[in-house]
Symmetry: C2
Subunit: 182 residues, 2 copies
Amino acid sequence: MSSDTRDTLIGAAQELYAESGVAATTPRQVLQRSGVGQGSLYHHFPSKRELAIAAVERTVSTALAAAEADLHGEADPRSRLAAYLQRPRDAIRGCRIGRLTSDPFVMADATLRDDVAGYFRRLLDEVGAVFREQGLSDGDARDRATAAVAIIQGGYVLSRAAQDPDAMRSAVRGFLGLLGER
Amino acid sequence: MSSDTRDTLIGAAQELYAESGVAATTPRQVLQRSGVGQGSLYHHFPSKRELAIAAVERTVSTALAAAEADLHGEADPRSRLAAYLQRPRDAIRGCRIGRLTSDPFVMADATLRDDVAGYFRRLLDEVGAVFREQGLSDGDARDRATAAVAIIQGGYVLSRAAQDPDAMRSAVRGFLGLLGER
DNA sequence: GTCTATATCTCGATAGAC
DNA sequence: GTCTATCGAGATATAGAC
């Protein structure tokens, strides 16, 4: 099936982007990782840009679905929030999407930039809705949701800097400690 | 003086690294930004790597000094913490140091990686000391300091994604709101 | 110490056979 | 749809005059 090779290329690109970002990932690396022949990439995608768009948009969809699985559901708001913040993460690897905010290839392209912006906009809306369930005003819920997402993004940065997954856990503990006592 | 040209090159590299990172910054760009002739770079630095080390280490020193200026001093601990968290930042530009945790050139080099790790280690120690002044246990102070630094790093990511400096302010408001009510 | 010229490599992309 | 071969551009680095 034609979409097999295409999907394989997208999957390899997603892996490599998580390791090195988009700008630093070459078409040749994608071909080697995927085991697909050289000409095939430019048969399925007109350029590196279109492959990047397909791979980033798939990563964004998957990440949003995972967040919604934690944040929606039957449990009380406090538990859903804790589930989102404490979900197992490969913290040393860094955030596949957050890291793209420093990627020159992504930030130079309006479509890719909007994909990243849209991910965080929707994530902040979801987290904010949970805080509003707890009776917070729109503004306070927004600020607290932004803080919660920043804890995760900052946790990734600190874990990656220290090469230690405990930095993420420490940041989440610090934040949940402040939340939990009220 | 011989260090003039060298300093000019380091300053140009610091600017470019803040805009595009180390991996994506070419020696040619550094020369153009600095106004220095082509051969001069390789007279003052054996390779791109040594220039990067000099520029990153200078950026780290400056950033640590700025943090210490906020966190030390006569004011009460709560005010010093707020001063650090609320200091005016060019949030859309992103963190000059935090972004390096996603930079392939930096992360592939042990010296540069250690420079970045050392920055966050020392920053976390400084912020943690302020929380300990407030009577928190070592562990709780550590967790709260990690959360505070994660708020700033995450605030940078969110501001950059949205191209909106208010994301940083919102994250800090959300965090200080939780801190302030106790 | 600084200049121009250039070597060598890899990148993103294309050509054209099969 | 996939292959090998290769192009033009730009990256890092060096040579050698001044």
